[in-house]
Amino acid sequence: MSALKMQALYAGYGASTVLHGVDLEIGKGESVAIVGRNGAGKSTLLMSVFRETNILSGEIWVGGARIDGLPGYSAAKLGVAIAPQGRRILPNLSIRENLLLGAATRRPGRWNLRTVFDLFPALEQRANSGGMMLSGGQQQMLAIGRALMANPDLLLLDEPSEGLSPLLVDDLVRALDEIRRAGTGILVVEQHLSLVRRATDRFVILSKGEVVGAAPTAEIDDPRHQTLMAL
C-alpha cells in the first residue's frame, strides 16, 4: 500500500487550474523529490493533500483511504504531515507550543517532544521563547519538528532549504537521514538540487502542472532530465 497516491488530479486556486491530471505514487518509507521551475505547481500539489486548493477532479489516497472529499485536517490524521513553504511558524506561540500543535493528530509513534529535541537540540534550549525568535534555519527545524510530532508515515517538505546557508543545508540533510532511518517517508519539493541529490531516492519532474518525467536520483544530472526541469 502506498503512503500517498494521486490519480488524474486537477486542482488550482479560484478559477485557475494549476495541476493538470497529475499521477503520483509514493511508497511507504520512500524519499522522493518533486522538481521543476517556479510556477510548475509543486507547492499546489502538496497543498492539495490538505485541500488547501480547489480540487476539480481526480483522486488523492493516503494509506488506504481516499481523502479528496474529506476535510483538510484528515490527511494529518491519516499519516501525512507537512513543513510548509515559508515555515509558517505561529508567532504568538512558544516553540514548545508550536511543537505540541503538531501532536494534534494523537498518532502514536517514535516522535514526541523528547525525540524532536534530541534531533534538534537548538529548539530545546529556547523551548519557551516565541517561534519567531529563531533564525531561519532553526525555524525550519521547528517546522519539521512540528510535522514530526504528528508521527507521520510521510513527511512533506516544501522548499526546506529556502534561505539556508550551505552549512545549514548539510544539517538539514543529516536530519532528513535520521528521519528516514526512523521509517518516515519524505516527499520534498525543492529547486536546489544539492539537497535532492543527497536526501532522496528518486525525483519527479513537474512542468506546467503535469508530470513530465521521473527517474532515480542518481540520474538527476542527465541532460534529458535537466532539459525537462527547465521547461
Partner: protein, 285 residues
C-alpha cells in the same frame, strides 16, 4: 468615594467581561461578530427569571447556562458552520436578524415590562469592610466575573483545546494542516460563549433588571469593548471591559447628564491613540 467607585466599576465590568470575552472568542475562531450575542444574554436572563421563580436562584445559575450552551451548539451547527464560506458581513447580518427575532419572541412570551429578580437570601444584605458598606451580591458578581477571567486564561494557556483555539485563531490553515478540526473547536467555543452569556444573564437579574431592551444595551456595550480591546483579543476585551465599567460608573457619578456618552468618548479616545485597539491580535494577545 473612590473605593465605592472602583467596586461598582468592577461589578459592571464583571458582566461585561463574561459577555465580551465570549464575543471575542467566536470572532477569533470564526472571524464573525455575533450580533445575536446580546439576545443570548437576554434569553439567559429570562430563562434565569423563570427558573428562579420555580426552583430558586442557584438552580437558575446552573440550568440557564446549560440551556444556553445548547442554544450555542444549535447556533454553531445550524448557522455559523453552514455559512462559514459566506462573507463576514452576511453572517454578521444573519446573527443580527436571529438576535432580533429571539428578542421579539421573548417579548411576546414575557411582555414588555421590566421584571426584577431577588438575590438569594445568602447573598442579600451588605458587608462593611475598610469603612465601605457594600452589597454582598455585587461582591459575588465581581467574584464570578474575575473567576471566569481566570478560568478562561487557564483553559487557553494550559489545555490542549485552548492551544488549538489559539492556533486556529492565528493561522487557521496551518492549524488545519496539523490535523485540527476547527469545526469541532468552534462548537466548543460557541457553546462556551453562549453559556457565559447565560451566566451573565442570570447574574444581571438581581443586579440590573430583566427587561426587553437589555439585549441591545449589552450588545452595544460589548461591541465598544471588543473594538477598544482589539477585535478578537480576550485580554484586550478584559482590560477594555474594566475601562468601560470605570468610565460608565464614574460618568454617572460626576457627569450624570453626559454619562451615556462616556463609553463613546472612551472609544474615540482609544481609537485615536491605538487604531487597532489595546490588544495586539487574536485571542490571547
Amino acid at each position: 468615594m473612590i473605593p465605592l467607585l472602583i467596586a461598582n466599576s468592577l461589578a459592571l465590568a464583571s458582566l461585561l467581561i463574561m459577555m465580551s470575552s465570549g464575543l471575542a472568542l467566536i470572532y477569533g475562531l470564526r472571524d464573525v461578530i455575533n450580533f445575536g450575542h446580546g439576545a443570548l444574554y437576554m434569553l439567559g436572563a429570562y430563562l434565569g427569571y423563570s427558573i428562579a421563580h420555580v426552583a430558586g436562584f442557584w438552580v437558575a445559575l446552573v440550568a440557564s447556562p446549560i440551556l444556553l450552551a445548547l442554544v450555542g451548539a444549535a447556533l454553531e451547527n445550524l448557522v455559523l458552520r453552514p455559512l462559514q464560506r459566506r462573507s463576514h458581513i452576511e453572517v454578521a447580518l444573519v446573527t443580527l436578524g436571529l438576535g432580533i427575532i429571539l428578542g421579539q419572541v421573548l417579548i411576546f412570551f414575557y411582555g414588555g415590562e421590566a421584571r426584577t429578580v431577588d438575590a438569594p437570601l445568602s447573598l442579600a444584605g451588605s458587608v462593611t469592610a475598610f469603612g465601605l458598606t457594600y452589597p454582598i451580591y455585587r461582591l459575588f458578581l465581581i467574584g464570578v466575573g474575575l473567576s471566569s477571567c481566570a478560568l478562561l486564561a487557564i483553559w487557553l494557556n494550559f489545555s490542549t483545546s485552548g492551544l488549538h483555539v489559539r492556533a486556529v485563531s492565528q493561522e487557521p490553515s496551518v492549524a488545519r494542516m496539523m490535523g485540527i478540526d476547527a469545526d469541532r473547536l468552534s462548537l466548543l467555543v460557541t457553546s462556551l460563549s453562549a453559556a457565559l452569556a447565560g451566566v451573565a444573564g442570570v447574574l444581571a437579574g438581581p443586579y440590573l433588571s430583566v427587561d426587553p431592551g437589555m439585549d441591545v444595551t449589552m450588545i452595544v456595550s460589548c461591541l465598544i469593548i471588543v473594538v477598544i480591546g482589539g477585535t478578537g483579543s480576550i485580554p484586550g476585551a478584559i482590560v477594555a471591559a474594566l475601562l468601560y465599567g470605570f468610565v460608565q460608573v464614574a460618568g454617572s457619578v460626576f457627569l450624570p447628564d453626559l454619562a451615556a456618552l462616556a463609553p463613546y468618548a472612551l472609544l474615540m479616545a482609544v481609537l485615536l491613540v491605538a487604531p487597532r485597539g489595546i490588544g495586539r491580535g487574536r485571542v490571547l494577545d
